[in-house]
Symmetry: C2
Subunit: 311 residues, 2 copies
């Protein structure tokens, strides 16, 4: 039996998942990234993880795919720059191929997650889909005709850095008013904190302080507290604005939401769908765009990375 | 010799161009759209135009491509809706194939122009390009790996309807702050008019009134009149904002500018390039995005339509 190894590199751990071409998981495990000792040490750790996983499976490892944070030049398997990992111009694909003895493909971690969801998760019945990840920032990946679209020079697709409010809030990228300044989990937390500080009578104070509130707080209290409801409505309007921009540009069949905020499920997707249906260009009869939660959770990245070997 | 016919349907005329697979033009002509008599009459006119063109060429017509305004379902060659032509759910591809006896492919007119520029014009040395047309609205087409990307259900790519200023000006699409409200030729004319009315001493009054000014007026006076310069700077900043959004999402190698405003050439592209280089995500060393004027003028649409037959 042939199988594939997908690796999802994070700031602390590397997740590994072995699966068949059909997406059946055979084994999963993780190791420390160990990148404080440099990229070569990280590759050694990954090689050990790979051996451990292979020892559990009868069959032939036929390819390895990697999702890695940062700027990736996927055609050469090079990490151009990954600040959290301390890597720059590191030949990740070649170094892993040396150690593992099979071809290695590398893409950005957000792209890998999008491919995983598109092939095996919430997008599996659609040819054109977008995964939008609502976390510390807003990331995402775009699937066109069943294939990952990486942007020219595989430098795209920085959907979080689409300005939706010129003269808006300053973004880390140097521009003002980027989508992720309004729609990330961090933005939601920031607005919850601000709203609590403005409303001493908010029910949210019964359980949280303005320092302990998170992106979940406003959703938790939205049915009993007017201020919490306002925060949620505010967040959803900005998120809808960015999603409709993407829908007008790509007209995918489905937009999948990942990251912590997406755990809100229908409390998030139902009002988003309503705004999408109303405001999308040309109306909804033309070609509906569904908004759904992603379904693979933390496995999306490793599964999508493995799927890189399947094309 | 095999050749192809490209048709570019406009509000008044249908332009036809016969060319070889290499993009060599063999003959060009046009006819009245005649759509006031309905879609079938328009197809009859086009058939007559085709015969006229064929009579001038020795060779074999091997395929016909059409660029048509409005919402096109390209997989079936159907015009879902084209307000200016008075067509809805019209089987344009089938009706033309019946009359012309060869396969007919249909796409949106902006897409056809993008394909024309990408294959034979300003984008011919690049695999990933975007044509942004600055006319009455802002339209465009996206070329990925040398192929036209039409969006899921070929309903995309409505790049003019990307919100860049939430709570901004009301757009015809029902949302506020769309890119085309700020970056179309119409927007430029509107702001020139407004600026003239605010500045009775502007040198622009020497040649134009606030009713006769156009999208060219501010460019014409930018070197001698402060108000004109301000209008141009203002326009370029908004245009840059939308173009950088597209660059961050698609990271094409080149963005080509078409439509009337693009005739300003370097007066437009030079300052745009400067802002692009400074503000694009991840910086310019990573993967530069060039901003250039389109080069085929009014022939782009028909040539790109013919190119539909070449894939």
């Amino acid at each position: 039996m042939e199988y594939y190894l997908g690796l999802d590199i994070g700031g602390t751990f590397v997740k590994g998942a072995c699966m068949t071409a059909e997406g059946n998981l055979l084994a999963e495990d993780k190791c420390d990234t160990g990148c404080e000792n440099g990229g070569y040490a990280m590759c050694d750790n990954i090689a050990a993880l790979s051996e451990k996983l292979q020892s559990k499976i009868k069959g032939q490892l036929s390819g390895v795919g990697v999702g890695c944070p940062g700027m990736i030049e996927s055609s050469r398997g090079v990490v151009k720059f990954a600040g959290n990992l301390g890597l720059s111009n590191f030949p990740l694909g070649d170094e892993l191929a040396k150690r593992l003895g099979v071809p290695v493909k590398v893409t950005n971690d957000a792209n890998a997650a999008a491919l995983g969801e598109a092939r095996f998760g919430a997008g599996k019945n659609f040819k054109n889909s977008i995964l939008v990840t609502l976390g510390t920032g807003v990331g995402g990946g775009i699937i066109i005709d069943g294939k990952l679209y990486e942007g020219g020079s595989s430098a795209g697709t920085e959907i979080g850095h689409m300005v939706i409010e010129r003269h808006g809030e300053m973004c880390t990228c140097g521009r003002r008013g980027c989508f992720e300044r309004y729609s990330s989990a961090s933005a939601l937390t920031r607005y919850t904190k601000h709203a609590m500080e403005e409303d001493a009578g908010s029910a949210m104070w019964g359980k949280y302080t303005s320092d302990t509130c998170t992106g979940k707080t406003a959703f938790e209290f939205m049915n009993v507290d007017r201020t919490a409801k306002e925060v949620v409505d505010w967040y959803i309007k900005y998120l809808a604005c960015g999603l409709i921009n993407l829908a007008n540009i790509f007209r995918p069949e489905v937009i999948m939401l990942g990251g912590g905020v997406a755990a809100q499920g229908e409390r998030l997707t139902k009002p988003l769908q309503k705004i999408m249906d109303k405001e999308i260009f040309g109306g909804n009869d033309y070609a509906k765009v569904l908004v759904v939660p992603a379904s693979l959770g933390n496995s999306a990245g490793a599964m999508g990375a493995a799927a890189l070997c399947l094309d």
